[in-house]
Protein backbone atom coordinates (compact mmCIF):
# COMPACT_ATOMS: atom_id res chain seq x y z
CA UNK A 1 0.00 0.00 0.00
CA UNK A 2 1.62 3.20 -0.95
CA UNK A 3 1.38 6.40 1.00
CA UNK A 4 -1.11 8.10 -1.21
CA UNK A 5 -3.43 5.17 -1.17
CA UNK A 6 -3.22 4.98 2.56
CA UNK A 7 -4.32 8.55 2.79
CA UNK A 8 -7.18 7.95 0.42
CA UNK A 9 -8.70 5.25 2.44
CA UNK A 10 -8.42 7.16 5.67
CA UNK A 11 -9.88 10.25 4.19
CA UNK A 12 -12.68 8.30 2.68
CA UNK A 13 -14.16 7.70 6.08
CA UNK A 14 -13.08 10.48 8.33
CA UNK A 15 -15.63 9.54 10.92
CA UNK A 16 -14.30 6.05 11.16
CA UNK A 17 -10.83 6.04 9.75
CA UNK A 18 -10.82 2.29 9.58
CA UNK A 19 -8.70 1.19 6.74
CA UNK A 20 -10.82 0.18 3.88
CA UNK A 21 -9.66 -2.36 1.45
CA UNK A 22 -12.23 -2.12 -1.22
CA UNK A 23 -11.40 -5.05 -3.38
CA UNK A 24 -14.73 -5.51 -5.00
CA UNK A 25 -14.53 -7.22 -8.34
CA UNK A 26 -16.46 -6.66 -11.51
CA UNK A 27 -19.52 -8.61 -10.46
CA UNK A 28 -20.27 -7.37 -7.02
CA UNK A 29 -22.55 -9.68 -5.06
CA UNK A 30 -25.27 -7.14 -4.22
CA UNK A 31 -27.68 -9.69 -2.94
CA UNK A 32 -25.09 -10.93 -0.57
CA UNK A 33 -24.63 -7.38 0.65
CA UNK A 34 -28.29 -6.97 1.42
CA UNK A 35 -28.30 -10.26 3.29
CA UNK A 36 -25.26 -9.17 5.25
CA UNK A 37 -26.88 -5.87 6.10
CA UNK A 38 -30.03 -7.54 7.34
CA UNK A 39 -28.03 -9.59 9.76
CA UNK A 40 -26.23 -6.52 11.07
CA UNK A 41 -28.23 -5.37 14.07
CA UNK A 42 -26.43 -2.04 14.32
CA UNK A 43 -27.15 -1.16 10.72
CA UNK A 44 -30.76 -2.07 11.33
CA UNK A 45 -30.91 0.29 14.28
CA UNK A 46 -29.38 2.95 12.06
CA UNK A 47 -32.06 2.41 9.42
CA UNK A 48 -34.78 2.61 12.05
CA UNK A 49 -33.41 5.89 13.40
CA UNK A 50 -33.15 7.49 9.98
CA UNK A 51 -36.55 6.27 8.82
CA UNK A 52 -38.10 7.55 12.04
CA UNK A 53 -36.65 11.00 11.44
CA UNK A 54 -37.74 10.96 7.80
CA UNK A 55 -41.27 10.08 8.88
CA UNK A 56 -41.28 12.71 11.62
CA UNK A 57 -40.11 15.28 9.11
CA UNK A 58 -42.63 14.25 6.47
CA UNK A 59 -45.60 14.12 8.81
CA UNK A 60 -44.60 17.04 11.02
CA UNK A 61 -47.84 18.95 10.36
CA UNK A 62 -49.87 15.92 11.48
CA UNK A 63 -47.84 15.33 14.63
CA UNK A 64 -48.35 18.72 16.18
CA UNK A 65 -51.11 21.30 16.36
CA UNK A 66 -48.65 24.19 16.28
CA UNK A 67 -46.71 25.91 13.50
CA UNK A 68 -42.94 26.10 13.82
CA UNK A 69 -43.03 29.88 13.81
CA UNK A 70 -46.12 30.25 15.93
CA UNK A 71 -45.30 32.42 18.94
CA UNK A 72 -47.19 32.69 22.17
CA UNK A 73 -45.16 35.25 24.05
CA UNK A 74 -46.99 34.59 27.32
CA UNK A 75 -45.87 30.96 27.23
CA UNK A 76 -42.16 31.54 26.83
CA UNK A 77 -39.60 29.14 28.34
CA UNK A 78 -42.20 26.69 29.63
CA UNK A 79 -40.84 23.32 30.79
CA UNK A 80 -42.01 20.13 29.07
CA UNK A 81 -45.67 19.42 29.68
CA UNK A 82 -48.65 17.67 28.09
CA UNK A 83 -49.29 20.60 25.73
CA UNK A 84 -45.64 21.14 24.92
CA UNK A 85 -43.87 17.79 24.97
CA UNK A 86 -40.42 19.35 24.92
CA UNK A 87 -41.32 22.73 26.39
CA UNK A 88 -41.23 26.09 24.66
CA UNK A 89 -38.43 28.44 23.63
CA UNK A 90 -37.88 32.08 24.51
CA UNK A 91 -40.59 33.45 22.24
CA UNK A 92 -43.03 30.75 23.24
CA UNK A 93 -42.71 28.41 20.28
CA UNK A 94 -43.26 24.71 20.75
CA UNK A 95 -39.88 22.98 20.72
CA UNK A 96 -41.20 19.60 19.60
CA UNK A 97 -42.80 21.25 16.58
CA UNK A 98 -39.55 22.96 15.72
CA UNK A 99 -37.60 19.73 16.16
CA UNK A 100 -40.00 17.92 13.83
CA UNK A 101 -39.80 20.56 11.10
CA UNK A 102 -36.08 20.81 11.77
CA UNK A 103 -35.71 17.16 10.75
CA UNK A 104 -36.75 18.18 7.24
CA UNK A 105 -34.07 20.84 7.12
CA UNK A 106 -31.25 18.66 8.40
CA UNK A 107 -32.08 15.72 6.18
CA UNK A 108 -32.45 17.95 3.15
CA UNK A 109 -29.14 19.66 3.83
CA UNK A 110 -27.48 16.28 4.22
CA UNK A 111 -29.03 15.03 1.00
CA UNK A 112 -28.32 18.01 -1.23
CA UNK A 113 -24.86 18.75 0.12
CA UNK A 114 -23.75 15.15 -0.29
CA UNK A 115 -25.35 14.82 -3.70
CA UNK A 116 -23.57 17.94 -4.88
CA UNK A 117 -20.24 16.77 -3.51
CA UNK A 118 -20.84 13.31 -4.93
CA UNK A 119 -21.55 14.53 -8.45
CA UNK A 120 -18.68 16.99 -8.69
CA UNK A 121 -16.26 14.92 -6.65
CA UNK A 122 -16.91 11.82 -8.78
CA UNK A 123 -16.62 13.82 -11.96
CA UNK A 124 -13.31 15.40 -11.04
CA UNK A 125 -12.03 12.15 -9.58
CA UNK A 126 -12.89 10.25 -12.76
CA UNK A 127 -11.28 12.86 -14.97
CA UNK A 128 -8.13 13.04 -12.86
CA UNK A 129 -7.79 9.29 -12.50
CA UNK A 130 -8.63 8.35 -16.06
CA UNK A 131 -6.68 10.95 -17.98
CA UNK A 132 -3.75 11.14 -15.60
CA UNK A 133 -0.73 13.33 -16.43
CA UNK A 134 -1.18 17.09 -16.08
CA UNK A 135 -4.96 16.89 -15.69
CA UNK A 136 -4.46 14.63 -12.70
CA UNK A 137 -1.64 16.82 -11.50
CA UNK A 138 -3.76 19.98 -11.44
CA UNK A 139 -6.86 18.42 -9.98
CA UNK A 140 -4.92 16.54 -7.34
CA UNK A 141 -3.02 19.65 -6.28
CA UNK A 142 -6.29 21.57 -5.96
CA UNK A 143 -7.65 18.76 -3.81
CA UNK A 144 -4.46 18.88 -1.71
CA UNK A 145 -4.80 22.59 -1.19
CA UNK A 146 -8.45 22.33 -0.21
CA UNK A 147 -7.68 19.52 2.19
CA UNK A 148 -4.90 21.60 3.72
CA UNK A 149 -7.54 23.71 5.42
CA UNK A 150 -9.53 22.36 8.31
CA UNK A 151 -12.84 21.74 6.57
CA UNK A 152 -15.10 23.71 8.90
CA UNK A 153 -12.79 26.71 8.58
CA UNK A 154 -13.03 26.56 4.81
CA UNK A 155 -16.80 26.30 5.09
CA UNK A 156 -16.90 29.34 7.35
CA UNK A 157 -14.81 31.28 4.86
CA UNK A 158 -17.07 30.28 1.95
CA UNK A 159 -20.18 31.29 3.87
CA UNK A 160 -18.52 34.58 4.81
CA UNK A 161 -18.12 35.25 1.10
CA UNK A 162 -21.56 34.12 -0.03
CA UNK A 163 -23.47 35.49 2.94
CA UNK A 164 -25.07 33.56 5.74
CA UNK A 165 -28.05 31.46 4.72
CA UNK A 166 -29.09 27.84 4.74
CA UNK A 167 -28.59 27.56 1.01
CA UNK A 168 -25.07 28.98 1.15
CA UNK A 169 -24.17 26.76 4.08
CA UNK A 170 -25.30 23.83 1.95
CA UNK A 171 -23.13 24.98 -0.94
CA UNK A 172 -20.14 25.43 1.37
CA UNK A 173 -20.55 21.94 2.79
CA UNK A 174 -20.84 20.48 -0.68
CA UNK A 175 -17.65 22.23 -1.75
CA UNK A 176 -15.57 21.07 1.20
CA UNK A 177 -16.66 17.49 0.52
CA UNK A 178 -15.73 17.48 -3.15
CA UNK A 179 -12.05 16.60 -2.63
CA UNK A 180 -12.97 13.75 -0.29
CA UNK A 181 -15.08 12.06 -2.96
CA UNK A 182 -12.70 13.16 -5.66
CA UNK A 183 -9.67 11.50 -4.14
CA UNK A 184 -11.58 8.35 -3.38
CA UNK A 185 -12.78 7.96 -6.95
CA UNK A 186 -9.44 8.93 -8.42
CA UNK A 187 -7.55 6.24 -6.51
CA UNK A 188 -10.15 3.68 -7.49
CA UNK A 189 -9.92 4.65 -11.13
CA UNK A 190 -6.13 4.50 -11.10
CA UNK A 191 -6.22 0.99 -9.68
CA UNK A 192 -8.81 -0.05 -12.27
CA UNK A 193 -7.28 1.69 -15.26
CA UNK A 194 -4.67 -0.97 -15.86
CA UNK A 195 -7.07 -3.87 -15.29
CA UNK A 196 -7.33 -6.29 -18.16
CA UNK A 197 -11.00 -5.68 -18.92
CA UNK A 198 -10.42 -1.96 -19.22
CA UNK A 199 -7.38 -2.45 -21.41
CA UNK A 200 -9.45 -4.83 -23.49
CA UNK A 201 -12.26 -2.34 -23.82
CA UNK A 202 -9.83 0.30 -24.92
CA UNK A 203 -8.19 -2.04 -27.38
CA UNK A 204 -11.62 -2.61 -28.92
CA UNK A 205 -11.77 1.11 -29.58
CA UNK A 206 -14.33 1.97 -26.97
CA UNK A 207 -14.70 5.68 -26.33
CA UNK A 208 -13.39 7.22 -23.11
CA UNK A 209 -16.80 8.31 -21.88
CA UNK A 210 -18.20 4.84 -22.46
CA UNK A 211 -15.34 3.18 -20.65
CA UNK A 212 -15.68 5.54 -17.72
CA UNK A 213 -19.41 5.27 -17.31
CA UNK A 214 -19.90 1.64 -18.25
CA UNK A 215 -16.88 0.01 -16.73
CA UNK A 216 -14.96 2.15 -14.32
CA UNK A 217 -17.81 3.85 -12.46
CA UNK A 218 -19.82 0.71 -11.71
CA UNK A 219 -16.71 -0.92 -10.35
CA UNK A 220 -15.94 1.97 -8.05
CA UNK A 221 -19.39 2.07 -6.52
CA UNK A 222 -18.79 0.26 -3.25
CA UNK A 223 -16.50 2.78 -1.56
CA UNK A 224 -18.53 5.64 -2.97
CA UNK A 225 -21.69 4.26 -1.44
CA UNK A 226 -20.06 3.85 1.93
CA UNK A 227 -18.58 7.33 1.81
CA UNK A 228 -21.90 8.81 0.75
CA UNK A 229 -23.65 7.33 3.74
CA UNK A 230 -21.01 8.53 6.13
CA UNK A 231 -20.94 11.87 4.33
CA UNK A 232 -24.59 12.40 5.23
CA UNK A 233 -23.62 12.32 8.88
CA UNK A 234 -20.72 14.75 8.61
CA UNK A 235 -22.70 17.10 6.36
CA UNK A 236 -25.51 17.30 8.89
CA UNK A 237 -22.98 17.87 11.65
CA UNK A 238 -21.26 20.63 9.67
CA UNK A 239 -24.55 22.31 8.82
CA UNK A 240 -25.49 22.30 12.48
CA UNK A 241 -22.10 23.77 13.38
CA UNK A 242 -22.54 26.56 10.84
CA UNK A 243 -26.07 27.15 12.10
CA UNK A 244 -24.70 27.28 15.62
CA UNK A 245 -22.21 29.96 14.61
CA UNK A 246 -25.03 31.94 13.00
CA UNK A 247 -23.73 31.21 9.51
CA UNK A 248 -26.34 28.71 8.41
CA UNK A 249 -30.12 28.71 8.56
CA UNK A 250 -31.67 32.06 9.40
CA UNK A 251 -34.67 32.75 11.61
CA UNK A 252 -37.36 31.69 11.86
CA UNK A 253 -36.20 28.40 10.28
CA UNK A 254 -36.06 25.72 12.96
CA UNK A 255 -32.57 24.43 12.19
CA UNK A 256 -31.24 22.37 15.09
CA UNK A 257 -27.81 24.01 15.40
CA UNK A 258 -29.39 27.45 15.27
CA UNK A 259 -31.89 26.40 17.93
CA UNK A 260 -28.99 25.44 20.18
CA UNK A 261 -27.26 28.76 19.64
CA UNK A 262 -30.48 30.63 20.38
CA UNK A 263 -30.96 28.75 23.62
CA UNK A 264 -27.44 29.19 24.94
CA UNK A 265 -28.42 32.12 27.11
CA UNK A 266 -31.04 30.03 28.83
CA UNK A 267 -28.75 27.28 30.01
CA UNK A 268 -29.45 28.25 33.62
CA UNK A 269 -33.08 29.15 33.28
CA UNK A 270 -34.38 26.57 30.82
CA UNK A 271 -31.85 23.82 30.13
CA UNK A 272 -34.48 21.72 28.34
CA UNK A 273 -34.27 24.07 25.39
CA UNK A 274 -30.72 22.80 24.83
CA UNK A 275 -31.21 19.07 25.19
CA UNK A 276 -33.54 18.05 22.39
CA UNK A 277 -31.89 19.78 19.41
CA UNK A 278 -28.43 18.41 20.29
CA UNK A 279 -29.76 14.96 20.95
CA UNK A 280 -31.48 14.91 17.56
CA UNK A 281 -28.35 15.98 15.70
CA UNK A 282 -26.48 13.20 17.48
CA UNK A 283 -29.10 10.57 16.71
CA UNK A 284 -29.32 11.37 13.02
CA UNK A 285 -25.53 11.36 12.66
CA UNK A 286 -25.38 8.15 14.65
CA UNK A 287 -27.97 6.62 12.36
CA UNK A 288 -25.96 7.37 9.24
CA UNK A 289 -22.75 6.19 10.87
CA UNK A 290 -24.35 2.87 11.81
CA UNK A 291 -25.63 2.33 8.29
CA UNK A 292 -22.27 3.35 6.86
CA UNK A 293 -20.47 0.92 9.15
CA UNK A 294 -22.87 -1.81 8.21
CA UNK A 295 -22.47 -1.14 4.50
CA UNK A 296 -18.72 -1.17 4.76
CA UNK A 297 -18.74 -4.46 6.59
CA UNK A 298 -21.12 -5.90 4.03
CA UNK A 299 -19.22 -4.59 1.01
CA UNK A 300 -15.76 -5.33 2.33
CA UNK A 301 -14.90 -8.94 1.82
CA UNK A 302 -11.99 -8.77 4.19
CA UNK A 303 -14.29 -8.24 7.12
CA UNK A 304 -16.46 -11.22 6.20
CA UNK A 305 -15.98 -14.21 8.40
Amino acid sequence: MNNEERQESQLSSPALALQMEEEIRATSPWKDTVRQLRKNKFALIGFIIIITFILVGLFAPLLTPYGYEQQVLQDRLKPPSAEHWLGTDDVGRDIFTRIAYGARISLQVGFFAVTGALIFGTLFGLIAGYFGRWVDMIISRIFDIMLAFPSILLAIAIVAILGASLQNALIAIAIINIPIFGRLVRSKVISLREEEFILAARAQGMKNGRIIFHHILPNSLAPIIVQTTLGFGTAILDAAALGFLGLGAQPPLPEWGKMLADSRDFIQLAPWTLIAPGLCIMLVVLGFNLIGDGLRDALDPRMKN
Partner: protein
Amino acid sequence: MLSYTIRRLLMLIPVLLGMTLITFSIVHLIPGSPAQTILGQNATEAAIKSLEESMGLNESYFKQYFLYIKGLLQGDLGTSLKSKAPIVKEIWPYIAGTFELTFFAMVFAVFVGVNAGIISAWKQNSWFDFLAMFVALIGVSIPVFWLALMEQWIFAQELGWFPAHGRQNNRDPIEAITYFYVIDTFIKMDFTQMVTALKHLVLPSIALGTIPMAIIARMTRSTMLEVMQSDYIRTVRAKGSGQFLIIYKHALKNAMIPVLTVIGLQTGVLLGGAILTETIFSWPGIGRYIFDAINYRDYPVIQSGILVIAFIFVMINLIVDLLYTYIDPRIKY
Protein backbone atom coordinates in the same frame (compact mmCIF):
# COMPACT_ATOMS: atom_id res chain seq x y z
CA MET B 1 14.13 7.74 2.38
CA LEU B 2 16.01 10.98 1.80
CA SER B 3 14.74 11.28 -1.72
CA TYR B 4 11.20 10.73 -0.47
CA THR B 5 11.66 13.48 2.10
CA ILE B 6 12.88 15.86 -0.57
CA ARG B 7 10.07 14.92 -2.93
CA ARG B 8 7.54 15.39 -0.16
CA LEU B 9 8.98 18.80 0.65
CA LEU B 10 8.92 19.86 -3.00
CA MET B 11 5.29 18.84 -3.23
CA LEU B 12 4.61 21.34 -0.47
CA ILE B 13 5.54 24.34 -2.58
CA PRO B 14 2.51 24.39 -4.87
CA VAL B 15 0.27 23.58 -1.94
CA LEU B 16 1.62 26.47 0.09
CA LEU B 17 1.36 28.84 -2.85
CA GLY B 18 -2.17 27.70 -3.52
CA MET B 19 -3.01 28.28 0.11
CA THR B 20 -1.86 31.89 -0.03
CA LEU B 21 -3.89 32.39 -3.17
CA ILE B 22 -6.98 30.99 -1.47
CA THR B 23 -6.61 33.03 1.71
CA PHE B 24 -5.98 36.12 -0.36
CA SER B 25 -9.04 35.60 -2.52
CA ILE B 26 -11.29 34.67 0.40
CA VAL B 27 -10.57 37.98 1.98
CA HIS B 28 -11.19 39.99 -1.14
CA LEU B 29 -14.42 38.20 -1.91
CA ILE B 30 -15.94 38.85 1.48
CA PRO B 31 -18.43 41.67 1.09
CA GLY B 32 -18.30 44.69 3.37
CA SER B 33 -15.62 47.30 3.76
CA PRO B 34 -13.32 47.01 6.76
CA ALA B 35 -13.27 50.80 6.97
CA GLN B 36 -16.97 50.76 7.76
CA THR B 37 -16.49 48.31 10.60
CA ILE B 38 -13.60 50.22 12.06
CA LEU B 39 -15.45 53.49 12.06
CA GLY B 40 -18.75 52.01 13.26
CA GLN B 41 -22.31 53.13 12.72
CA ASN B 42 -21.62 56.83 13.25
CA ALA B 43 -19.03 57.04 10.48
CA THR B 44 -19.40 59.52 7.67
CA GLU B 45 -19.01 58.41 4.08
CA ALA B 46 -16.02 60.72 3.60
CA ALA B 47 -14.21 59.22 6.59
CA ILE B 48 -14.79 55.72 5.18
CA LYS B 49 -13.44 56.66 1.75
CA SER B 50 -10.29 58.25 3.11
CA LEU B 51 -9.57 55.36 5.45
CA GLU B 52 -10.00 52.84 2.62
CA GLU B 53 -7.49 54.77 0.62
CA SER B 54 -4.90 54.94 3.35
CA MET B 55 -5.29 51.20 3.97
CA GLY B 56 -4.33 50.46 0.40
CA LEU B 57 -7.68 48.87 -0.41
CA ASN B 58 -7.88 50.86 -3.61
CA GLU B 59 -4.81 49.22 -5.16
CA SER B 60 -5.28 46.55 -7.82
CA TYR B 61 -5.70 43.00 -6.56
CA PHE B 62 -2.58 41.93 -8.34
CA LYS B 63 -0.50 44.53 -6.60
CA GLN B 64 -2.10 43.74 -3.26
CA TYR B 65 -1.36 40.04 -3.72
CA PHE B 66 2.19 40.74 -4.73
CA LEU B 67 2.72 42.89 -1.63
CA TYR B 68 1.07 40.19 0.45
CA ILE B 69 3.45 37.46 -0.74
CA LYS B 70 6.43 39.75 -0.45
CA GLY B 71 5.44 40.54 3.12
CA LEU B 72 4.93 36.86 3.95
CA LEU B 73 8.39 35.98 2.70
CA GLN B 74 9.81 38.62 4.99
CA GLY B 75 7.87 37.14 7.90
CA ASP B 76 5.32 39.93 7.83
CA LEU B 77 1.78 38.71 8.44
CA GLY B 78 0.29 42.16 8.07
CA THR B 79 -1.18 44.57 10.58
CA SER B 80 -4.45 44.02 12.34
CA LEU B 81 -7.00 46.65 11.39
CA LYS B 82 -8.66 46.39 14.75
CA SER B 83 -5.68 46.64 17.07
CA LYS B 84 -3.33 48.36 14.61
CA ALA B 85 -0.61 46.00 15.86
CA PRO B 86 1.52 43.71 13.67
CA ILE B 87 -0.15 40.30 13.58
CA VAL B 88 3.18 38.54 14.07
CA LYS B 89 3.43 40.29 17.39
CA GLU B 90 -0.01 39.47 18.68
CA ILE B 91 -0.80 36.07 17.17
CA TRP B 92 1.44 33.95 19.37
CA PRO B 93 -0.70 33.91 22.54
CA TYR B 94 -3.64 32.75 20.42
CA ILE B 95 -1.61 30.02 18.75
CA ALA B 96 -0.25 28.91 22.11
CA GLY B 97 -3.79 28.85 23.49
CA THR B 98 -5.05 26.64 20.69
CA PHE B 99 -1.96 24.43 20.85
CA GLU B 100 -2.32 23.85 24.54
CA LEU B 101 -5.99 23.01 24.11
CA THR B 102 -5.48 20.68 21.16
CA PHE B 103 -2.52 19.02 22.84
CA PHE B 104 -4.48 18.16 25.94
CA ALA B 105 -7.46 17.13 23.84
CA MET B 106 -5.12 14.75 21.98
CA VAL B 107 -3.60 13.47 25.22
CA PHE B 108 -7.09 12.71 26.45
CA ALA B 109 -8.04 11.12 23.13
CA VAL B 110 -4.93 8.93 22.90
CA PHE B 111 -4.82 7.90 26.51
CA VAL B 112 -8.47 6.97 26.85
CA GLY B 113 -8.87 5.80 23.26
CA VAL B 114 -5.89 3.44 23.15
CA ASN B 115 -6.58 1.91 26.53
CA ALA B 116 -10.25 1.46 25.89
CA GLY B 117 -9.43 -0.08 22.51
CA ILE B 118 -6.93 -2.53 23.93
CA ILE B 119 -9.11 -3.62 26.81
CA SER B 120 -12.10 -3.97 24.50
CA ALA B 121 -10.16 -6.25 22.20
CA TRP B 122 -8.73 -8.24 25.09
CA LYS B 123 -12.18 -8.72 26.58
CA GLN B 124 -13.95 -9.01 23.28
CA ASN B 125 -17.74 -9.23 23.62
CA SER B 126 -17.64 -8.50 27.33
CA TRP B 127 -19.83 -5.82 28.88
CA PHE B 128 -16.82 -3.50 28.85
CA ASP B 129 -16.35 -4.05 25.15
CA PHE B 130 -19.97 -3.28 24.42
CA LEU B 131 -19.99 -0.24 26.66
CA ALA B 132 -16.74 1.12 25.25
CA MET B 133 -17.85 0.61 21.67
CA PHE B 134 -21.22 2.13 22.42
CA VAL B 135 -19.51 5.20 23.88
CA ALA B 136 -17.21 5.31 20.87
CA LEU B 137 -20.18 5.19 18.51
CA ILE B 138 -21.84 8.05 20.35
CA GLY B 139 -18.50 9.82 20.42
CA VAL B 140 -18.12 9.97 16.65
CA SER B 141 -21.68 11.22 16.24
CA ILE B 142 -21.91 13.88 18.93
CA PRO B 143 -21.72 17.54 17.90
CA VAL B 144 -18.72 19.15 19.62
CA PHE B 145 -20.63 22.28 20.49
CA TRP B 146 -23.48 20.39 22.07
CA LEU B 147 -21.14 18.27 24.16
CA ALA B 148 -19.40 21.47 25.25
CA LEU B 149 -22.69 23.07 26.24
CA MET B 150 -23.78 19.99 28.17
CA GLU B 151 -20.45 19.94 30.00
CA GLN B 152 -20.85 23.59 30.81
CA TRP B 153 -24.30 22.97 32.14
CA ILE B 154 -23.53 19.90 34.23
CA PHE B 155 -19.95 20.31 35.39
CA ALA B 156 -19.62 24.06 35.63
CA GLN B 157 -23.06 25.27 36.49
CA GLU B 158 -24.79 22.46 38.35
CA LEU B 159 -21.83 20.77 40.02
CA GLY B 160 -19.34 23.62 40.00
CA TRP B 161 -16.39 21.25 39.54
CA PHE B 162 -14.60 23.02 36.73
CA PRO B 163 -14.56 26.55 35.35
CA ALA B 164 -16.28 27.02 32.01
CA HIS B 165 -14.46 30.04 30.68
CA GLY B 166 -11.00 31.17 29.75
CA ARG B 167 -7.55 29.75 30.45
CA GLN B 168 -6.76 31.07 33.89
CA ASN B 169 -8.10 32.70 37.00
CA ASN B 170 -7.65 36.37 36.30
CA ARG B 171 -7.68 37.27 39.96
CA ASP B 172 -4.30 35.62 40.09
CA PRO B 173 -2.98 36.08 36.57
CA ILE B 174 -0.31 33.79 35.24
CA GLU B 175 2.81 35.57 34.15
CA ALA B 176 3.18 34.57 30.54
CA ILE B 177 6.55 33.40 29.29
CA THR B 178 5.77 30.93 26.54
CA TYR B 179 1.99 31.42 26.77
CA PHE B 180 1.64 27.69 27.31
CA TYR B 181 0.28 28.26 30.77
CA VAL B 182 0.95 24.76 32.01
CA ILE B 183 4.61 25.17 31.07
CA ASP B 184 4.81 28.74 32.33
CA THR B 185 3.54 27.78 35.75
CA PHE B 186 5.90 24.81 35.76
CA ILE B 187 8.88 27.05 35.04
CA LYS B 188 7.90 29.23 37.95
CA MET B 189 7.19 26.15 40.08
CA ASP B 190 3.84 27.67 41.01
CA PHE B 191 1.70 24.60 41.42
CA THR B 192 -1.45 26.35 42.60
CA GLN B 193 -1.55 28.23 39.36
CA MET B 194 -0.69 25.08 37.45
CA VAL B 195 -3.68 23.29 38.93
CA THR B 196 -5.84 26.29 37.98
CA ALA B 197 -4.56 26.18 34.42
CA LEU B 198 -5.16 22.42 34.23
CA LYS B 199 -8.65 22.77 35.65
CA HIS B 200 -9.50 25.29 32.97
CA LEU B 201 -8.29 22.76 30.42
CA VAL B 202 -10.43 19.84 31.58
CA LEU B 203 -13.83 20.63 30.06
CA PRO B 204 -12.69 22.06 26.71
CA SER B 205 -10.14 19.26 26.19
CA ILE B 206 -12.72 16.58 26.77
CA ALA B 207 -15.20 18.29 24.46
CA LEU B 208 -12.64 18.67 21.73
CA GLY B 209 -10.97 15.29 22.27
CA THR B 210 -14.07 13.14 22.21
CA ILE B 211 -14.28 12.59 18.47
CA PRO B 212 -10.62 11.54 18.07
CA MET B 213 -10.91 9.51 21.27
CA ALA B 214 -13.79 7.53 19.81
CA ILE B 215 -11.99 7.05 16.51
CA ILE B 216 -8.78 5.94 18.20
CA ALA B 217 -10.68 3.51 20.42
CA ARG B 218 -12.39 1.88 17.45
CA MET B 219 -9.24 1.77 15.44
CA THR B 220 -7.12 0.35 18.23
CA ARG B 221 -9.72 -2.30 18.90
CA SER B 222 -9.85 -3.51 15.34
CA THR B 223 -6.05 -3.50 15.04
CA MET B 224 -5.82 -5.37 18.32
CA LEU B 225 -8.31 -7.99 17.24
CA GLU B 226 -5.92 -8.86 14.45
CA VAL B 227 -2.95 -8.85 16.78
CA MET B 228 -4.80 -11.17 19.12
CA GLN B 229 -4.80 -13.76 16.35
CA SER B 230 -1.03 -13.69 16.12
CA ASP B 231 0.98 -16.72 17.24
CA TYR B 232 2.82 -14.65 19.78
CA ILE B 233 -0.29 -13.59 21.65
CA ARG B 234 -1.81 -17.05 21.36
CA THR B 235 1.24 -18.52 23.04
CA VAL B 236 1.26 -15.96 25.81
CA ARG B 237 -2.44 -16.35 26.33
CA ALA B 238 -2.12 -20.08 26.54
CA LYS B 239 0.11 -19.67 29.55
CA GLY B 240 -2.98 -18.65 31.42
CA SER B 241 -4.32 -15.44 32.82
CA GLY B 242 -2.23 -12.71 34.39
CA GLN B 243 -0.39 -12.16 31.15
CA PHE B 244 -2.17 -8.92 30.51
CA LEU B 245 0.89 -6.71 30.93
CA ILE B 246 2.91 -8.61 28.35
CA ILE B 247 0.08 -8.36 25.91
CA TYR B 248 -0.46 -4.72 26.77
CA LYS B 249 3.17 -3.99 25.95
CA HIS B 250 2.99 -5.90 22.72
CA ALA B 251 -0.31 -4.28 21.88
CA LEU B 252 0.97 -0.77 22.44
CA LYS B 253 3.75 -1.36 19.99
CA ASN B 254 1.21 -2.29 17.37
CA ALA B 255 -1.18 0.47 18.23
CA MET B 256 1.38 3.09 17.39
CA ILE B 257 0.89 3.27 13.64
CA PRO B 258 -2.88 3.66 13.62
CA VAL B 259 -2.65 6.16 16.44
CA LEU B 260 -0.09 8.18 14.56
CA THR B 261 -2.33 8.17 11.50
CA VAL B 262 -5.22 9.42 13.52
CA ILE B 263 -3.14 12.16 15.09
CA GLY B 264 -2.18 13.40 11.66
CA LEU B 265 -5.68 13.21 10.28
CA GLN B 266 -7.48 14.49 13.30
CA THR B 267 -5.36 17.58 13.71
CA GLY B 268 -7.46 19.23 11.06
CA VAL B 269 -10.64 18.13 12.76
CA LEU B 270 -9.28 19.39 16.07
CA LEU B 271 -8.19 22.74 14.69
CA GLY B 272 -11.63 23.14 13.11
CA GLY B 273 -13.42 21.94 16.22
CA ALA B 274 -11.33 24.38 18.24
CA ILE B 275 -13.32 27.26 16.72
CA LEU B 276 -16.51 25.89 18.25
CA THR B 277 -14.94 24.83 21.53
CA GLU B 278 -13.16 28.15 21.94
CA THR B 279 -16.37 30.05 21.30
CA ILE B 280 -18.23 28.18 23.99
CA PHE B 281 -15.49 28.14 26.59
CA SER B 282 -14.37 31.74 25.95
CA TRP B 283 -10.93 30.34 25.15
CA PRO B 284 -8.61 32.96 23.67
CA GLY B 285 -7.34 30.79 20.83
CA ILE B 286 -6.74 31.19 17.13
CA GLY B 287 -10.17 29.89 16.15
CA ARG B 288 -11.88 32.67 18.04
CA TYR B 289 -9.30 35.14 16.75
CA ILE B 290 -10.30 34.31 13.18
CA PHE B 291 -14.01 34.12 13.85
CA ASP B 292 -14.02 37.55 15.51
CA ALA B 293 -11.91 38.88 12.65
CA ILE B 294 -14.50 37.69 10.12
CA ASN B 295 -17.22 39.60 11.94
CA TYR B 296 -15.00 42.65 12.16
CA ARG B 297 -13.79 42.40 8.56
CA ASP B 298 -10.24 42.48 9.87
CA TYR B 299 -8.88 41.29 6.51
CA PRO B 300 -5.22 40.82 7.44
CA VAL B 301 -6.13 38.78 10.50
CA ILE B 302 -8.52 36.55 8.55
CA GLN B 303 -5.85 36.03 5.90
CA SER B 304 -3.00 35.30 8.24
CA GLY B 305 -5.03 33.39 10.80
CA ILE B 306 -6.39 30.92 8.25
CA LEU B 307 -2.99 30.64 6.62
CA VAL B 308 -1.27 29.91 9.92
CA ILE B 309 -3.77 27.19 10.81
CA ALA B 310 -3.49 25.61 7.39
CA PHE B 311 0.29 25.81 7.59
CA ILE B 312 0.35 24.08 10.97
CA PHE B 313 -1.97 21.40 9.63
CA VAL B 314 0.18 20.80 6.56
CA MET B 315 3.32 20.63 8.66
CA ILE B 316 1.83 18.13 11.07
CA ASN B 317 0.79 15.94 8.18
CA LEU B 318 4.27 16.20 6.75
CA ILE B 319 5.82 15.15 10.05
CA VAL B 320 3.39 12.28 10.40
CA ASP B 321 4.17 11.09 6.89
CA LEU B 322 7.88 11.23 7.50
CA LEU B 323 7.56 9.49 10.85
CA TYR B 324 5.65 6.72 9.11
CA THR B 325 8.47 5.86 6.81
CA TYR B 326 10.81 5.97 9.75
CA ILE B 327 8.81 3.76 12.05
CA ASP B 328 7.40 1.24 9.68
CA PRO B 329 10.08 -0.12 7.41
CA ARG B 330 7.47 -2.07 5.48
CA ILE B 331 6.37 1.14 3.87
CA LYS B 332 8.69 1.70 0.95
CA TYR B 333 8.80 4.60 -1.38
